[in-house]
Symmetry: D3
Subunit: 137 residues, 6 copies
């Protein structure tokens, strides 16, 4: 299943190859997963996406393992099976334990449930939750 | 906007009032937000949801602040404005800094983008990402 | 909030007016809700949608109240607040009790939760659930 | 495809085994489907989910067949293929006819269409549809 | 995977066969794809859907290639893999180039990202964007 | 409603101000819409998003009006009311006629309907639609 072919190394344009080289160098492995091979048909989007991913997923105020878990949460809610699999593998590689994974999965389920209860009931936002309620600007 | 009325304290059934009493006691505040007031028409679901929320959101392998951030991530992807507002307030109350919030928001956006790139391209899951590939069972 | 104006009766094209006349006649009320007033800018889609709604929502193997409840379930999962409000009102007009509404809401929440648990875990479909597993064609 | 392995009976913890025993007893069959086998890594969520499922799906104001059909509607809108297959099988086991299934599918499609028409047009909710408009509280 | 069998030509009812005949005649090919074979269990919905598809996708103010690309955009956001594959094939058959496909995919990703940024931040709609702000009606 | 305040010009950091200056210069107007004012709390994401938006939405193989319409399609399917309003305004500013808008809306609705029909029926992808079926790589 794919709407484009997955490019093999010998099929890459020079621009795409440069991104693959950087992915391999930064990750310290020769393995390049299918997402990048599908995206490589469009070197401009490939490059921009790889650069954004590095900017967003780098260690910062949040640690990389938590960032992967947030990525999983979004991917589940969007129903992206590929993304769930790849980021679950990434989270484990960054130290996510099975206990942490179990709690992550339970939160995703619970949030989905209350999200839909709230939506079904049409609950209006409490004033107390508005960030701008006391904004003097 | 609401498909049910928001119950005021004097309108609660005894079963619903008992849950409200517990919410107030556990949270140490008299404030009960609209979600529970809408749900209070159905004391059975009110009670079950409150108990599940406590079981899932309690401190465990993950710390409560991270749990709230995961909740936000799911709620954004499901488009539940109420839930986003209430859990952003809760995350801040549990110590989420503005820098952490900014990173959370950036990850949600980035994940949404790659989720849809992957889906548009129909990328097949790499064997390396399957948990059961080496399962001896 | 709207990306088009809501057409008042005197602003309707003859084609749109004919559909409004039919809506009023079939429903036995002069009230025409905002959905049709927004859609009236495009009489072709207005007419096709009204005809499809009648074909799909007419009494059949399922009774009209259950049909409205199914409509609500889909609308909640799609996050369409307008649709949730209009079809909750319609379901009540067709006899949905508060007890039935409470069960509907609880099922929507429960389904959302297990939907996301399943997706997070990547559970493969059991052979027993495939309609075509024993198809001799 | 899975982010966790599917546990076989001999791999279950005592807590998970107790839930499996209860599933088998209540359902009157030895077959335990993959959802529970994936969830069994986390006995606490396994137990809570099984108990919630029983509470929500039990006969009540709505009959069990209708409950399964509502479950299908939500699962389709969330794009959970596993859930659609398992609950379609369950609905048939509880008496859903092919005519009822056809009407269910048509309603899901119709609701999806009007949900998105409404959202694209930004239609504001009619006052007539608000549950709280005449609330004297 | 399917919740119904895919009907082969010899299994069609006369009503379904008439629709298949029309699909083949209008498209000028003997190939009838799986969507219609699954839908053929319900000749009424089969016929209505085929007629709607023709009405909506016919050349009009927008050219057919652009229409297919819009179809793809919606299908990606809904996570319908089948629809993405079939409409990507259709768009290519109607002249979509690889450069156009690459831009389509990039826009889908970008829109997903900003959609979720906006939702996470709860951004209120600017008055300047309301169609009805200056409506004298 | 907002989870952050909307920054006014005098509240901007120098980094955010530089992006606002560029938005104003490129767009030739002093008006800066709320999206950027909410995002301005995080100058890094503000800058990256503005740069990505320019890269993706620039004239290319597809014309800017069509790009805005694709943006609307995705935004509707994700239920982002803000995005629908802002990009509908943008599409109109770039020449989208009311006839084109009407066709866009009809396609979004039709796609949503068939997306969900396909998902409900679990239709497997036809081999003819696979991009990689004849890939010699």
């Amino acid at each position: 299943m794919a709407t484009v072919t997955l490019l093999q190394d010998h099929q890459l344009s020079p621009e795409a190859r440069a991104v693959f080289d950087d992915i391999r160098a930064k990750r310290g492995t020769d393995f390049v997963n299918n997402f990048w091979r599908a995206l490589a048909h469009d070197p401009k989007t490939l490059k921009r996406t790889w650069e954004s991913a590095q900017a967003v997923m780098a260690p910062g105020a949040l640690d990389p393992k938590v960032k992967e878990m947030l990525y999983i949460a979004v991917s589940v809610a969007h129903g992206c099976s590929y993304c769930i699999h790849s980021h679950t593998a990434a989270a484990r590689a960054k130290g996510m334990t099975e206990a942490e994974h179990a709690e992550l999965v339970a939160i995703i389920g619970m949030a989905a449930e209350t999200n839909r209860l709230v939506t079904a009931l049409g609950v209006p936002v409490d004033d107390a939750f508005l960030a701008d309620r006391a904004d003097p600007a």
